[in-house]
């Protein structure tokens, strides 16, 4: 039997995300998928779900949700106080949900992307192998008040799930690990040195497509032919701005690719708020 989650309030920017749309880059289709894949994976792990079950992703302020049928949910990623029918509930554990329960949460206390996982996943439309929202591919790029998303009713909650503590140390908050990008060697020694010794800052220009850094790096690299890019590619624009491409980025780009973030560091930088600082640290394959 199917249940419906009704969006009573959409929060700041909420969408359905999974591991992303893989195998359609040749058509120019972005990968999309959860910004913090590790928090997304963790939600499915806690629920004993398959790894590609879709979660609801929210930014800064969670949406208000009403569940029409019983199920089990979990809250991972950005931490905040969540309430089920007004009663405070914990993050990072299984939460039993009954017919007509309402989930609410405060503005987040740390990080910025949070995930609501649900038993067997949210069942929004699958397009090109994924439920991840993206403008021009799914009906909308975000959830709006009044939207409904279906899920499978589930009554198997056994109530013996422990809360799981995550080692926060694994986020290494000030270090972003990077490989050299294809155009790295075109940088001057001084530019290379600046990349690995300067403190960088997340600017307020940040979206699911890219995060722009506040600092400017003098750029003398000549223009190049449009080339493939991936989430985690760091581009240097003609004005010397560094852009860290994120999950919704285009498949190709024309700016020099000076660095490439490691998988774990993409999740890490996704959670950084405006004005947060970090250093790039070089790693090798």
């Amino acid at each position: 039997m199917m249940g419906i989650v009704e969006i009573l309030n959409s929060g700041f920017y909420s969408s359905i995300q999974d591991r992303g749309r893989l195998g359609y880059g040749e058509m120019g289709v972005p990968k999309s998928g959860a910004m913090d894949q590790s928090a997304y994976d963790f939600a499915n792990l806690l629920l004993n779900n398959d790894e590609d079950c879709a979660c609801l992703e929210w930014v800064f302020k969670p949406p208000v949700l009403r569940f029409s049928e019983s199920t089990c949910i979990t809250l991972t990623g950005a931490q905040t106080d969540f309430f089920l029918n007004g009663k405070k509930i914990e993050n990072n554990r299984q939460i039993q949900v009954f017919e007509n329960d309402v989930l609410k949460g405060d503005f987040c206390k740390n990080k910025k992307y949070g995930y609501v996982g649900i038993k067997k996943g949210f069942l929004s439309e699958v397009i090109l192998g994924s439920r991840s929202f993206y403008k021009g591919i799914t009906r909308s790029d975000r959830l709006a008040k009044g939207d409904e998303v279906s899920y499978e009713k589930w009554d198997g909650y056994e109530g013996h799930s422990a809360k799981v503590a995550i080692r926060e140390s694994k986020y290494e908050p000030t270090i972003i690990k990077v490989y050299k990008g294809p155009e790295f060697d075109l940088l001057t020694e001084e530019q290379k040195d600046l990349l690995f010794t300067s403190k960088f800052t997340v600017s307020n220009v940040a979206s699911r497509m890219a995060i722009q850094l506040s600092e400017v790096l003098p750029n003398s690299i000549p223009s190049m032919l449009t080339s493939p890019v991936l989430p985690g590619t760091v581009q240097l624009t003609p004005f010397g701005k560094l852009m860290v491409l994120m999950r919704d980025c285009q498949t190709t780009g024309g700016y020099p690719r000076v660095l490439q973030l490691g998988e774990a560091s993409i999740n890490n930088i996704a959670q950084k708020r405006t004005k947060e600082h970090f250093f790039f640290k070089e790693i090798e394959f």
Binding site: G23, M27, Y179, G232
Partner: protein, 241 residues
Amino acid sequence: MKFELRYRQYNEKSILIEWPAKISEKTLKDQLYYKKNIEKYCDKLIVEVILSYNSMLICYMSTIEDVYSEVLVLRSLYDDSSSLGVSKKRLWKIPVCYSASLAPDLESFAETKSLSVDQVIQLHTGNVYTVFFLGFLPGFCYLGGLDEKLFLDRKKSPSLTVEKGAVAIGGSQTGIYPQDSPGGWHVIGKSPLSFFDVKKENPVFVRCGDCIQFVSIEEKIYNDISAKVEMNNFDLNPNFL
């Protein structure tokens, strides 16, 4: 003809192959043979191959454990890729309406280039364009072959919305916007066709290596085709070159 290729690991799961930095149909042909061979022999190992003017990004399913052995495999596939048969080139005749009502920048474009509107249309429909690759937006084709007389730098400040179907020129390139998007190109016409349709089994009918020619149509025909496309009742078939 074989090229001196450069191989490097791009991230944990991908390898970048680079051709000399030039836009050329020879490179494209070489890439298409090579891509076909890689997809044939590495089908189970790779997610996809992303193409651009002078590169190919090979994306693997899982983390690459030993990049040297993977590159050896790729190199050997390059060496025998030219033995594959040539598939015929497909030519798509794309209807475009150049009426002022659907082409907001056509008049100013012609004026800047000291051409008449008819000359612009003639030059734009006169050439056959090659699809080098798709990128920027789902279904957006990077086309080569624009007449030099039509080169014009992008607008200083991009338009907030360029409409789906807009046929535009930016710098030395021309293209069709597959969806509404901000953009800095000069819109000189509009095509009633859908270049990206998720409702179709194959959302994009154009492939890398295909050819495109623009055919000028009247506004009435534009409206007819638009209505048919809307009803999912319009099929475009390619000619084979």
